[in-house]
Amino acid sequence: MDFNFSEEQSMLRDTVASFLQDKYDFDKRQKLIKSESGWSPAIWEAFANELGILGAPFSEELGGLGGGAIENMIVMEEFGKALVVEPYLGTVVIGGGFLKHSGYAGAAELIGGIIEGKVTIAFGYAEPQARYNWADVKTTAKKEGDAFVLNGHKAVVIGAPWASHLIVTARTSGGQRDEDGISVFIVEKGAKGIVTRDYPTVDGQRASEVYLENVTVPASALIGEEGKGLPLVNKVLDEAAAAACAEAVGAMRKMHEQTLDYARQRKQFGTAIANFQVLQHRMVDMFMNVEQSVSMTYMATLKLDESDAERAKAVSAAKVQIGKACKFVGQNAIQIHGGMGMTEELAVGHYFKRATMIEGLYGSVDHHLRRYETLSFGKAA
């Protein structure tokens, strides 16, 4: 048993942390998310070239740092602390995950592009009617000769406005919620027939509704085996969920820290509010929530390469813990800050918003509880 980070991993954390402290403080981040494009290509390029972190989970042969899920966890936790909006999760974790696990022919080239900061990826998996059921796919991919023709609507595709490529799920056979018949495609975002409606999200990111209107892609756009995409989607989204847990841990650590600082300096009735026992206990409960979330994030991250069922169970357990903790820590951070916590000018509200969105990201608490129950007790009769 060893929960220590290697020297390289500690160095990765320190490098990312000090870069963000310097280049991504709260005021800079606020300006960035309110700018026209909503992100910083210059920061992205620095991630690629100055820090090399876009290669963190990729092998050295591909030009990466030779890490894996733990490196993603480290980067995402630091990103959570700084509320980074740039699309590491979509591009490196999800995009990179699909390319690594699928045996995709063009993987090496695209991963090279990711590492250099030239390829950015957004993943369209949800549809308006689908909620958290990744098998509920109405988007179709019809085979025409050597090509596929894609039609459908992908909902709330996070990071799509900044993406060079989209990965989407589409049905090559079967009925709307069948587990078989789902295929995964990678498409250049500029491809003919892709129409997007871009918009900001409550937590300062950007997303799009993506409409596929007779988008014709070559057979080489197919990632993995035709019709057998769902297990791959589940694996990659579990990795994404684990990474999002790490991001939430970063955001929660900051909320807890800021709440402690605030309670120590804020005076009411002639004394610092940190002296009130009811608030002390609340801050203790926040602390316990954060620590339990750290533990679950480690556990889930370390089990990502286990069997499908083991992995899914671990990730769902972590997602339940983190979802509840995001709510508890976030709500109490605002409450203890009082009116100031309600204002746009303090960072704490922005951490709360991001944490709230992570609660529902890749499945809500209820969704993951149900998945855990099914995996542990079998399907209900």
């Binding site: 909620r131 059921n133 918009y199 900001p200």
Partner: protein
């Protein structure tokens, strides 16, 4: 014991229901549940309809336009307003400053202010909170020094800063607590002033909240000259007015009727949103359980409020039990917005306020019912903070009810 309303009460309820159905301005339909997006005209148009009917200030003394309704009738009126999603009448004029004026004010003050509050001609805001004070209201620092002006009349010169001043951006007048005797014990040197918001030296600055809305403000007062006749009640006795007003503020804070309507809205929403199995969310056992638990908690609160109401009707004033109504009422309001956020799923995420190129009126992404769920959730966090935080309310119960 008996749970039924009397036939007179039921007739009254029907009359109110019919009046609202016939007279609620058509352009305001569907707006009542999203208070943050309402304009000044929105608020005032319904206010004016009720004023014309004579129903805008049911609690006032009859000579100023009060209705002489029983507590039960006032309760039923509130229920019907909520049931119709009608825009609530803003409390600052009608429910807060007016009772102070008709209880503690001079005849001149009553004649000058009450009719304009009643008719909606003058919009009021509340200058109570200060930075660093919060629930410790009496620690306020804004000071008022008495001088004789060049015209031989007496004035207060007011300096200080107020905060969380709701809708001050629209206000014609504000009622302010100021410190007139810095030497006295903290609650004894305070006076209650009515200040014309157009007086030179007043600056209103928006505070944008985490939902992106502009509902509250900072109000800066720099050498603001206020005639002494604008003081209500005696100098240094303003805390009496403040305490009286806070008791008024707390009644009705449970928001039972609005929450009942909120539960209906969540049910309506869940009946069109999909669950994971493609069926609607209202068939989802986990979601259903949460709605059911909320409904039961709300019923408990409703019957607690009715018990308080019955004891008020029997002549007992609202006591510290109003703290219970505040705590449970606001917790339920918060849970309602949590459920709506959950119901919205992915479509809780799109957001349009305060970003370049996107006006407030941009067409929403996803189902209409999902559109405001996240901002509403964030905004509603305030309810356990304002009006004396829920921690303070629990302290009140511990001390006043349990004698701890």
């Amino acid at each position: 014991m008996n749970l039924d309303f009397s036939p007179e009460d039921i007739a009254f309820r029907d009359e109110v229901r019919a009046f609202i159905a016939e007279n609620y301005p058509a352009q305001l339909r569907d707006k009542g549940s999203d208070r943050e997006d309402l304009s000044k005209d929105d608020f005032l148009s319904w206010h004016k309809v009720l004023a014309k009917k004579g129903w805008v200030a049911p609690s006032w003394p009859k000579e100023w336009g009060g209705c002489g309704w029983t507590s039960t009738q006032k309760y039923l009126f509130g229920e019907e307003m909520a049931r119709a999603d009608a825009i609530p009448i803003l409390p600052f004029g009608v429910a807060m400053v007016a009772p102070v004026i008709y209880t503690f004010g001079t005849q001149e003050q009553k004649d000058r202010y009450l009719p304009k509050i009643y008719n909606g001609e003058e919009w009021w805001c509340q200058g109570y909170s200060e930075p660093g004070a919060g629930s410790d209201l009496a620690s306020l620092k804004t000071k008022a020094e008495r001088i004789t002006g060049d015209d031989g009349k007496e004035y207060y010169i007011v300096n200080g800063q107020k905060t969380w001043t709701t809708l001050a951006q629209h206000a014609d007048w504000g009622f302010f607590l100021v410190r007139t005797n810095p030497e006295a014990k903290i609650q004894e040197g305070i006076s209650f002033l009515l200040i014309d918001m157009k007086t030179p030296g007043i600056t209103v600055r928006p505070i944008i909240t985490i939902d992106g809305g502009h509902e509250v403000n900072e109000v800066w007062l720099e050498n603001v000259k206020v005639p002494v006749e604008n003081r209500v009640f005696e100098e240094n006795k303003g805390w009496t007015c403040a305490k009286f007003l806070l008791a008024h503020e707390r009644s009705g804070i449970a928001g039972v009727a609005r929450s009942k309507r909120g539960v209906e809205r969540v049910r309506e929403m869940a009946s069109v949103e999909f669950g994971d199995d493609g069926d609607n969310l209202l068939k989802d056992a986990d979601f259903k359980r949460k709605v059911a638990e909320l409904e039961i908690d709300l019923t408990a609160l409703e019957y607690t409020e009715l018990r308080v109401l019955a004891s008020e009707s029997a002549g007992k004033g609202p006591g510290p039990e109003s703290s219970l109504l505040k705590i449970k009422g606001t917790e339920i309001q918060q849970r309602l917005t949590e459920l709506a956020l959950e119901a919205a799923g992915h479509y809780a995420s799109p957001y349009f306020r305060g970003f370049p190129g996107d006006g407030d009126n941009a067409h929403p992404i996803g189902p209409d019912s999902a559109h405001r769920t996240a901002p509403n959730y964030f905004n509603t966090r305030k309810t356990s903070i304002y009006g004396g935080s829920n921690e303070i309310q629990r302290n009140i119960i511990a001390k006043m009810v349990l004698g701890l």
